[in-house]
């Protein structure tokens, strides 16, 4: 369970970005989704220690390298980017606002040049001044450390060469800085409408210009945020204290925090974590509460729990290049047979998951409800499996009796979902079996086309709020890399007509985000019709807090905004 949150599952293939991101929508103008039921339990004062419990650590603490939600929730408190996602609950939290830059610029040169001007007088937590040239270092480190998703920044001039040869990386033509004027100018090889979203991620957060060009491990470099790192010990915990040099310059981008100290403690079982929070000896359980404590939380501690929908998918990828699912009718049959009510129960019931048939999650740019694989279709909602229709399609496809291996994971949810899908496929005439692999092994295994995986269980959580982060990355032609373990298009799906529409939406995003989102909605429905996935559900998240915590806010981008809560 913990892996669902400790790792942002969007482990993005670097090459995907090069292949797919030619244009797109900007979230600067806001996303089209609704509120994610962010809630607040009243305001609170400053001070105190906010104690967080987690079963395990987050690996390296270097912002250039770390790719976990767990540390990102702290890095946004210790560091800043040129721009950032608004520090607010609900859909407001998906908006890009100026952070270290004075304003969010408009691109020039047909979308290929972005110039930012730094706010004056900002210092790092070690007292040194923020300089424009520091951003040379930030992006150089992306290719020398290297960053796990440095493909995000491949559109920068020179970055493609840096990816191939990090030791000779030269971004001087792609990033031009002027310390006197405080300007940072990015030159891109092609317009990238999601460039601002990418600059808002911790990979692009400012660090001093003398930061080593290697992973700093347990010693994150100084940052500019309201907190600074006191220590990080992967065996014990971590502690953030106030940054004495911080002065609030934008409440939207980087508001001052409420607790004086934010402390992480590692090593307890999740059961013990829940008990500690119930007893008030800790304030928040980072890990999702275990399944058999949910009823207890729901009945005895409901006022301390907050449930929010996530912009994420749980799905089974159907390999469109391997029998029997190289047949459209077979794929559609599998979708009609899918018992999404059962999948939802496995995840914890309707309070914790919402059945879905499509790729884009609710409250996401381009989302328009659509579900053709249900009894009584038409309202975009899933009502139940249509086994008769599924059996009919299996007969028509001529694939009845085919052997199907469903490759799932060994964790509780992955195992149960895999077994349920096996049962669903057997119910319509296939001879399905489950093959369970440990999560880390399984994800690479199902991506590699050499393994001829027929059905692979996977999940996807947004990196940033843009439809292409789901559709183009997971089902675009450019993200299918045969014979590679890094091929996020697990289905191997490539429909040139749909790809053309995606490319068109990407280009339109730079000038007409609303129009682009309409196009993305069409793409979403098109790929759903092609049934390259069995989309199972969109998950929700429980945050379980101690009684003394007030001011809870949930951002779709950063989830629980820790520093905006208060401890009494």
């Amino acid at each position: 369970m913990s892996s669902r949150r400790s790792i942002l599952i969007g482990v993005l293939a670097l090459t995907v970005m090069a292949a797919g991101c030619g244009g797109g929508s900007s979230s600067t103008s806001g996303s089209s989704g609704g509120s994610s039921s962010a809630s607040s339990t009243g305001g609170g004062g400053k001070g105190g220690t906010f104690t967080i419990l987690a079963n395990s650590n987050w690996g390296t603490a270097d912002p250039a390298k770390n790719y976990t939600l767990q540390e990102w929730q702290l890095l946004i408190l210790t560091h800043d980017g040129l721009v950032g996602f608004k520090r607010a609950g609900g859909t407001e939290g998906t908006k890009i606002v100026a952070d270290l830059a004075t304003e969010v610029p408009q691109p020039t040169d047909g979308g290929k040049t972005w110039t930012f001007t730094l706010r004056p007088g900002i210092k790092y937590s070690d007292g040194t001044d923020l300089k424009a040239s520091d951003f040379q270092r930030v992006f150089l480190r992306q290719f020398t450390v290297p960053g796990p998703a440095n493909g995000f920044y491949e559109p920068i001039v020179g970055a493609a060469e840096c990816l191939k040869s990090p030791k000779t990386c030269d971004l001087s033509k792609g990033i031009v800085t002027d310390d006197q004027a405080g300007t940072v100018t990015f030159h891109l090889t092609a317009p990238d409408p999601e460039f601002l979203d990418k600059l808002g991620l911790p990979f692009a957060f400012a660090v001093p210009g003398n930061t080593p060009l290697k992973d700093t491990g347990n010693n994150p470099p100084p940052g500019t945020g309201p907190y600074m790192w006191d220590h990080y010990d992967p065996n014990q915990g971590a502690k953030l204290v106030r940054n004495p040099y911080f002065k609030e310059w934008s409440a939207d981008a980087q508001p001052n925090g409420n607790p004086d100290v934010i402390e992480y403690k590692f090593g307890l079982t999740v059961e013990a974590e829940v008990t500690e929070v119930e007893n008030g000896t800790a304030d928040w359980v980072f890990d999702p509460p275990p399944a058999d404590r949910l009823n207890e939380i729901s009945t005895k501690y409901a006022d301390q729990a907050h449930v929010n929908p996530l912009t994420a998918d749980y799905y089974m990828a159907l390999n469109v290049n391997v029998p029997p699912f190289n047949n459209l009718q077979a794929r559609q049959a599998a979708n009609f047979a899918a018992d999404r009510a059962a999948y939802v129960k496995i995840y914890g019931g309707p309070s914790l998951a919402q059945p879905s048939c499509q790729v884009l999650p609710p409250n996401f740019p381009g989302y328009e409800p659509y579900c053709p694989y249900t009894t009584n279709p038409g309202d975009g909602q899933w009502h139940g499996p249509d086994i008769a229709k599924a059996k009919q399609l299996v007969e028509q496809s001529g694939t009845k009796g085919a052997k199907v291996a469903v490759v799932g994971t060994t964790d509780e949810v992955g195992k149960a979902l895999t077994e349920q899908v096996v049962a669903d496929l057997n119910a319509i005439g296939y001879k399905a079996t489950a093959k369970l692999l440990a999560g880390g092994v399984q994800y690479a295994y199902i991506q590699n086309s050499d393994n001829k995986v027929q059905v692979g269980y996977s999940q996807w959580y947004q990196d940033y709020p843009a439809a292409s982060d789901f559709l183009n990355i997971l089902l675009g032609c450019g993200s299918f890399h045969p014979h590679s373990d890094a091929s996020p298009n697990i289905s191997g799906f490539c429909d040139q007509t749909i790809q053309d529409k995606m490319d068109q939406a990407l280009k339109l995003g730079l000038t007409d985000p609303a129009g682009a989102n309409k196009l993305w909605a069409e793409v979403d429905h098109d790929v759903t019709d092609q049934a390259a996935w069995i989309t199972m559900f969109n998950p929700k998240l429980i945050d379980f807090l101690s009684k003394r915590v007030t001011g809870y806010q949930f951002s779709p981008q950063w989830y629980f905004l820790i520093a905006q809560a208060s401890v009494q």
């Binding site: 949910l294 207890e296 009945t299 409901a302 009510a341 496995i346 349920q420 096996v422």
Partner: protein, 355 residues
């Protein structure tokens, strides 16, 4: 002294007819051992318990079909069952304001869902019984295969000595050098993705043969070494020289002269090996690299129950109890067989304990 007297007693049971009454019916060492074993009430009770567990496990299909009326291999998340005359959902939605979570039905102590359901709505009792079939089959199967391979390796190494002994013994040493569970987990993790293919033979990843063979292989050194030691000792005996003088071939020497004199080593170890292999199978299955779904073993059922320990502890406790009873009965039985085949061993152990 009383212990020693008790041990000595069955060794020389004079026939009632007496020496002078005519032909004396000779008793083979095996017959004497069987008599000793039959007199050991604790060992017999353990044997009875083990046989009972085997029979109950073999009856799993009958239980599932005629008593529980369920298919324990198919998820049943949307199903209902009758409790006290009312239909209730097998998976029950959480209560309270947030209605979080779904909890499987607990023990009904009736025919349906006697021990409740697991997190996929399947009958736990039926799965525990089916799990027994898999665990026992793998445990016994791997112990037998291990014993067979170990006897062959031990015989060859001990009898031929020289290069043969060096090669075989060093190979055993290599396997021995790895911690058993680490080696088993490593092999299982590799093979679980593709299964095993050797020439014309192919075993799928979901086959019970895969964990059976993996477990058998990792324990071979633990049986082959004592067998080799016994062979080294026996081949120096005079009767072997006599057989050689009579022109016996190597094969005959090994199979007819040496093997009968070292087989007791394997027989003593067999129950203990079965107990050990059942534990190993449970561990591998608990780690999801043993028996593959939808098949059940005691290890997989415990794994399923791990997340339900707080609300539905019987899911994990029931297979745990079965493992404890099985392993306990086999260990006690193994001790009894050892005492029966080698009474001096018990005497030695008794002296050590007193010292």
């Amino acid at each position: 002294m009383s212990d020693v007297a008790a041990l000595e007693q069955p060794i020389a049971p004079l026939p009632e007819e007496g020496i002078g009454s005519g032909a004396v019916a000779g008793r083979s060492p095996w017959e004497l051992a069987a008599r000793r074993l039959l007199r050991n009430r604790v060992a017999m009770a353990a044997l009875g318990l083990f046989v009972l567990i085997v029979l109950v496990s073999l009856a799993a299909p009958l239980y599932a079909e005629h008593i529980a009326h369920t298919d324990p291999f198919v998820p049943n998340l949307n199903g209902t069952t009758e409790v006290d005359g009312k239909q209730v959902p097998i998976m029950q939605q959480g209560g309270g304001a947030l209605k979080l979570g779904v909890t499987p039905i607990g023990p009904t102590w009736h025919s349906n869902f006697f021990l409740g359901a697991d997190n996929q709505g399947r009958d736990v009792m039926a799965r525990v019984l089916y799990g027994g079939r898999s665990s026992l089959l793998i445990g016994i199967g791997s112990a037998l295969i291990c014993g067979l391979v170990a006897v062959i390796v031990g015989l060859l190494a001990g009898f031929f000595g020289g290069l043969t002994d060096t090669v075989l013994s060093r190979t055993l040493d290599v396997i021995w050098a790895f911690p058993v569970y680490l080696l088993a987990i490593s092999i299982a993790t590799v093979l679980i993705t593709q299964g095993l293919s050797v020439g014309p033979f192919s075993i799928s990843a979901s086959s019970l043969w895969l964990p059976t063979l993996i477990i058998a292989v990792v324990y071979v050194p633990y049986v082959a070494r004592p067998v080799r030691g016994s062979v080294l000792s026996v081949r120096e005996k005079e009767f072997i020289d006599a057989a050689i003088a009579q022109g016996a071939s190597n094969t005959r020497l090994m199979l007819s002269e040496i093997l009968p004199n070292v087989i007791s080593v394997v027989i003593v170890l067999l129950p203990l090996m079965i107990a050990t292999t059942i534990l190993t199978e449970s561990a591998l299955s608990f780690l999801t690299i043993g028996v593959q779904p939808p098949q059940a073993s005691w290890g997989t059922v415990i794994s399923d129950g791990q997340q339900l320990l707080y609300t539905r502890p019987w899911v994990a406790i029931a297979p745990g109890i079965m493992i404890v009873l099985t392993v306990l009965s086999l260990n006690v039985l193994g001790d009894g067989i050892r005492d029966a085949l080698d009474p001096r061993a018990k005497r030695r152990i008794g002296r050590k304990a007193k010292a």
